[in-house]
């Protein structure tokens, strides 16, 4: 892997390799000294054209745990106030010797431009581009789901996929890079995905996606679901008539206390509730749901560091080498379980 730009073009074997490597990396986080020398002397630039403290510090923690040097470059620009061009910024970073660029950008496709042009030779990790993709978020979500799924099956999660897992992704799919990356990756891993949203917040063309679509959250829950992923709703959508009011949205598509009880009533004791954060409590998710034992919100944050360590490690040290100080070898040809 030279770059990590999207989950759409991520093969099953590479997806499993990243997830398995992340399992190894997570062991590091449980040690007293949370550090590996694997990327000593390598420079990772966090190039953020859009504010995202959570994602930036997750990548920063990941790079530092691998002993890389980290440069944070907050090139906050907007389509209105045009500053230095992406090309000039990229060439500047190249001249400074960046080995990997973690880029967050408000424009869909900006990471692809970095990777496709000769502006910079570094590996590129997409840390969220516009309304396109957010591959490390989908990988950390898959990592979280895989641990849950393997625990239910009573097996270690290494090498496994998500065959048979029923996932509902609920909310503003139209503007969500998280939803897009999840749909492709979950499909690759064998999960069954249902998108649940108001019709206004689904893209034209969604009918071609490898998933089902529903406008009815209660029906989707009643049909049986193993993981419910709630997407953040931006308040400004209301002003653009995507839905009549936040209260109506919340009633129809929010994970509220009634729906939390419904999971119990339906006997779905093992169903988890996920959210990529930051949450709008009381809008797309109720406080009780966010704080319930079903919630994996904090596990997702924790797993995010492991997954990003894995991505940085695989990009910068090649697929074949082992992480320097972990006991288990990195998988080169992981066995994939046929059924769980």
């Amino acid at each position: 892997m030279k770059h990590l730009l999207s989950t759409q073009d991520l093969s099953l074997s590479n997806a499993i390799r990243i997830l398995d490597t992340a399992e190894e990396m997570s062991a590091v986080g449980e040690r007293e000294v949370k550090k590996l020398p694997a990327l000593r002397g390598r420079t990772v630039v966090n190039l953020f054209f859009e504010d995202s403290t959570r994602t930036r510090i997750s990548f920063e923690a990941a790079a530092k745990r691998l002993s890389a040097d980290v440069i944070n470059f907050a090139a906050k620009g907007s389509s209105v106030s045009k500053g230095e061009s992406l090309k000039d910024t990229a060439q500047t970073l190249s001249a400074m010797g960046a080995d990997a660029v973690v880029i967050r950008h408000w424009a869909s496709g900006a990471p692809h431009r970095l990777a496709a042009t000769d502006w910079i030779d570094a590996g590129v990790i997409n840390a969220g581009d516009g309304t396109h993709e957010h591959p490390t978020q989908a990988l950390l979500d898959a990592f979280t789901m895989r641990r849950h799924w393997a625990r239910l099956a009573g097996t270690p999660s290494e090498g496994t996929d998500l065959k048979g897992l029923r996932v509902a992704i609920v909310g503003d799919v139209l503007h969500s890079r998280v939803a897009r990356s999840n749909v492709w990756l979950l499909r690759t891993l064998g999960a069954e995905v249902t998108l649940v949203a108001p019709p206004t917040l689904l893209p034209v063309g969604v009918e071609q996606w490898p998933c089902s679509v529903s406008y009815d959250l209660d029906q989707t829950l009643a049909n049986g679901v193993d993981a419910v992923m709630m997407l953040r709703v931006q308040g400004e959508r209301m002003n653009a008539s995507f839905f009549p009011s936040t209260r109506e949205y919340s009633r129809r598509w929010g994970f509220d206390d009634n729906r939390l009880r419904a999971l119990d009533d339906l006997g779905m004791t093992d169903t988890i509730i996920m959210h990529p954060g930051p949450m709008n409590r009381g809008l797309e998710i109720s406080a009780a749901a966010a704080d319930s034992p079903r919630s994996t919100v904090l596990a997702q944050v924790r797993n995010g560091v492991s997954v990003r360590m894995a991505a940085l490690y695989l990009l910068l040290s090649g697929d074949s080498r082992e992480p320097a100080a972990t006991r288990a070898p990195a998988y080169t040809a992981p066995p994939i379980k046929e059924s769980i």
Partner: protein, 445 residues
Amino acid sequence: MTTTGTYLIKGASILGGEASDVLVRDGIIAEIGHGLADGGATVIDATGLVALPGMVDVHTHLREPGREDAETVETGTRAAALGGYTAVHAMANSTPVADTAGVVEQVYTLGRAAGWVDVRPVGAVTVGLAGEQLAELGAMADSRARVRMFSDDGICVHDPVLMRRALEYVKAFDGVVAQHAQEPRLTAGAQMNEGDVSAVLGLTGWPAVAEESIIARDVLLAQHVGSRLHVCHVSTAGSVEIIRWAKERGIDVTAEVTPHHLLLTDDLVRSYDPVFKVNPPLRTDADVQALRAGLADGTIDVVGTDHAPHPSEHKECEWAQAAMGMTGLETALSVVQHAMIETGLMTWADFARVTSTAAAKIGRLTDQGRPIEAGEPANLILVDPAARWTVDPFKMATMGRNSPFKGRELPGKVVATFFKGHPTVLDGALNTPHPEAAATPSGAA
């Protein structure tokens, strides 16, 4: 009249038909026949070449005045001559906007001084393209530029009352309103065709309905007030259907399609390379097929390039930041040959209709788009249909390097262009401008 010399074109296939000799003398086709004597004329061996009327572009952005870093009248018309054009309509979205007699006369004069093709300025419909108040259409029509086509191209005249008034008003001088059909509210922030590809790429969609709803409205307005409407760069299958319906009802509407919409689809956007960013956007293969069928059956009257050069920094950036537009003058003939002739949908005679005859009629150009016959003005081109070439934007005469056909092998090459009897292009390379140009100081008529 300025003397332009005598040329004997030997053995050219007229409109792809019978091979004949064509004698060009002092701006006029003097004689057509077999075995014409050279009589001291410069002889051009046209064996294997097709003779066609000089192409007329109804839709060119020459960028001058205002964006001379993107293109000038001089460079744009050199590109036009090389592409086989003898006339271009220069769109009004310059800086300042061509919304007064002064600006259209300036562009007209620059064109005369350059001497490569007829430059026919298009006047803006509304002051500053702002869509609020009619520009002085009559003054532009009466100016030396004799403007007949009016357009806010780049921006839709979306106010239905203003569009109605414009359509009515231009009847006074046999003008035409060329509409950029784009409902603005349905396309706020639009980046590409709305459909399967935009859903995956996370780019804001430009739905077909935003074009089709405006065309539907405008053909009804044109019918209601009995005026003439031209639809710029039609890009969707639905638009073709609406225009076909309108023509069946006898509505006086003409339509244009760009070469790029005849060949390229929105799948190319998957690269996020802004060279494929254009307005209206590249559509689907079903749209491409419908546009080809519409051009072949006459629903779409003409090919217009929408030649839109941009400086490199406006394309070497993120997709959302990039300017919309593609160059087209030097690839139009080849793309149309590839998409329409080599597919068997059209003949060279049809090609002459959609690139010259019909286009001249829309712009009311009396000396262009004429038959290749004795006594007619000598605006004609010689094309080698067997030639193959690979598109290299850095070898073009246009200043724009934003060709979406970069690296593609295309058929057909313009070998010679005769503009009012003078060869502006010979042996596939620029020759000299028309001698009248030397007598036209820029800044004067």
